[in-house]
């Protein structure tokens, strides 16, 4: 079963929240909310790119 983009995004965010909480405690995970959002969004973007296909990378956008 594959995750939808939204489900994958949520999953990525919760993984980062969980890891931050384990390392630094719940308080820091809350304090880092904005940063966690930024990093989770970046991870989600990179996961959506097919790295193997990048060997034949072509410009994504046209002017």
């Amino acid at each position: 079963m594959s995750l939808s983009s939204r489900e994958e995004s949520d999953s990525v965010r919760w993984q980062i929240v969980l890891r931050t909480t384990l390392l630094f405690g719940e308080e820091r995970a809350i304090a880092n909310r904005e940063e966690i959002e930024m990093v989770s969004s970046a991870i989600h973007r990179l996961k959506r790119l097919n790295v193997n296909a990048l060997i034949a990378l072509k410009p994504e956008t046209q002017p």
């Binding site: 890891r19 931050t20 880092n32 940063e35 970046a42 991870i43 990179l46 990048l54 990378l57």
Partner: protein, 426 residues
């Protein structure tokens, strides 16, 4: 000819007077400066050839200068006295440059605002992280300054302060003696008021195998590529100013074409975000536990979140970066430089150091980049155009292209008295 040791007391007095408001310096000791001046005078009298004789230098406070602590904006480092000069500082001294002192950095060269104000408007940021370096050169405290760039920390403050900011290609000189953050991104950079001055410093600092700029003869008219996705990430006013500048260059016979990047702007920034967080976390993984409360909020957040990143994500970001870098070399090989705005907007208020997105693309790809002032907005705040070189070792070529652009646009901003006057009126 007047000796340095005779000229400098008046210069120092003026710096101290204006720096009460700008706060560009974290360490500026008159005795330290005058002792160096006397030594340089002696070397000149003995007939020594000094290519940078008497050039005054500000050094960002993450770069070691023998005799001054390297504080990095971090309280536990307040007494961190280096054993020797950073490699770049030692090369400058050998060439006869005079180190004035240490300039304010945001903590560990990250994003939390520093105390430094923009000389053009004291209620605005000079940018970051090389805040004091850009402000000191803009205010004519120093002829040049050293900064570092991991995202946009040389170009953005230079653009906000209306000066030249040059970040050569990755690995152009040793980073020995510089406190790291993200080791595959960190690059020493130069703040100056003219392209020729930046080139003069480059020639002293660059690794021996890299081509020199020499007299910085302009190369032109150049072939410039405008990257629409980059333009789109700036304010309407900034975009219009940069397009005007590009049209002016086209009128002087520059060949202007449009280009795309191998990957979208947002995906490139995503890769930069992951790489900088992961490598920053690696650098700080011990100290964050030893001194958590001494970290500024932004720096602490970045390290903590970086430590929570899965390793496969970092590897993926590096793979994407490598592919893009290779593709960009081919895609952009027929151009002398890529043109985009230097920053998203003019300098914002003091609550932020601004957005690093437009400067981070060249850092991610290891390409040289330079910002040049192109004028002011209606509030008399500097605007800048960024030129990105199309090969990691095209530093000298980019400087010559920038020299042509500088000559044709004819914009070298004057000393900024306006910020200080504006505040005094209130």
């Amino acid at each position: 000819m007047e000796k340095l040791a005779e000229r400098l007391p008046a210069t120092l007095k003026e710096i101290h007077a204006t720096d009460k408001e700008i706060e560009a310096w974290v360490a500026l000791d008159d005795d330290f400066v005058l002792q160096q001046a006397a030594l340089i005078d002696e070397r000149l009298e003995s007939g020594e050839a000094l290519p940078l004789a008497g050039v005054t230098v500000g050094v960002k406070d993450i770069i070691d200068v023998n005799g001054i602590p390297t504080g990095a904006g971090f309280a536990p480092f307040a007494e961190r006295m280096p054993a020797r000069d950073a490699h770049a500082v030692s090369l400058l001294r050998r060439a006869g440059a005079l180190i004035l002192g240490k300039t304010v950095t945001t903590q560990f060269a990250v994003s939390d605002p520093s105390k430094t104000k923009n000389p053009w408007d004291l209620e605005r940021t000079p940018g970051g992280s090389s805040a004091g370096s850009a402000a000191a050169v803009s205010a004519h405290h120093a002829d040049i300054a050293l900064g570092t760039q991991t995202g946009g920390s040389v170009l953005r403050p230079s653009a906000y302060c209306g000066i030249i900011g040059f970040k050569p290609g990755f690995g152009w000189t040793s980073t020995d003696g510089i406190i790291p953050y993200a080791t595959s991104l960190d690059t020493l950079g130069i703040h100056a008021r003219t392209v020729a001055e930046a080139a003069r410093i480059y020639d002293v600092l660059a690794r021996p195998e890299l081509p020199r700029v020499g007299d910085c003869t302009p190369i032109g008219p150049p072939r410039l590529a405008v990257w629409a996705d980059g333009l789109a990430h700036s304010t309407e006013m900034m975009r219009a100013a940069v397009i005007d500048a590009i049209e002016a260059l086209a009128n002087e016979s520059a060949v202007i074409q449009h280009t795309v990047a191998p990957l979208s702007f947002d995906n490139l920034i995503a890769a930069h975000t992951i790489i900088s967080r992961a490598e920053g976390a690696s650098t700080h993984s011990d100290m964050i536990f030893a001194h958590p409360d001494d970290y500024a909020p932004g720096a602490r957040s970045m390290v903590e979140t970086g430590m929570a990143l899965p390793a496969d994500v970092y590897v993926r970001a590096q793979q994407i970066r490598d592919h893009v870098r290779r593709e960009a070399l081919t895609l952009w090989s027929s151009f002398d430089a890529i043109a985009i705005p230097s920053s998203e907007s003019v300098a914002p208020d003091l609550s932020t150091t601004g957005n690093h997105g437009l400067q981070a693309i060249a850092t991610l790809l290891g390409l040289p980049s330079i910002t040049l002032p192109i004028g002011f907005n209606p509030e008399y705040l500097p605007l800048g155009i960024q030129l990105i070189g199309t090969h990691p070792q095209a530093d000298a070529h980019l400087l010559r292209v920038a020299r042509w652009v500088e000559d044709e646009l004819g914009v070298v901003l004057p000393r900024p008295p306006h910020g200080i006057q504006k505040k005094k009126k209130k």
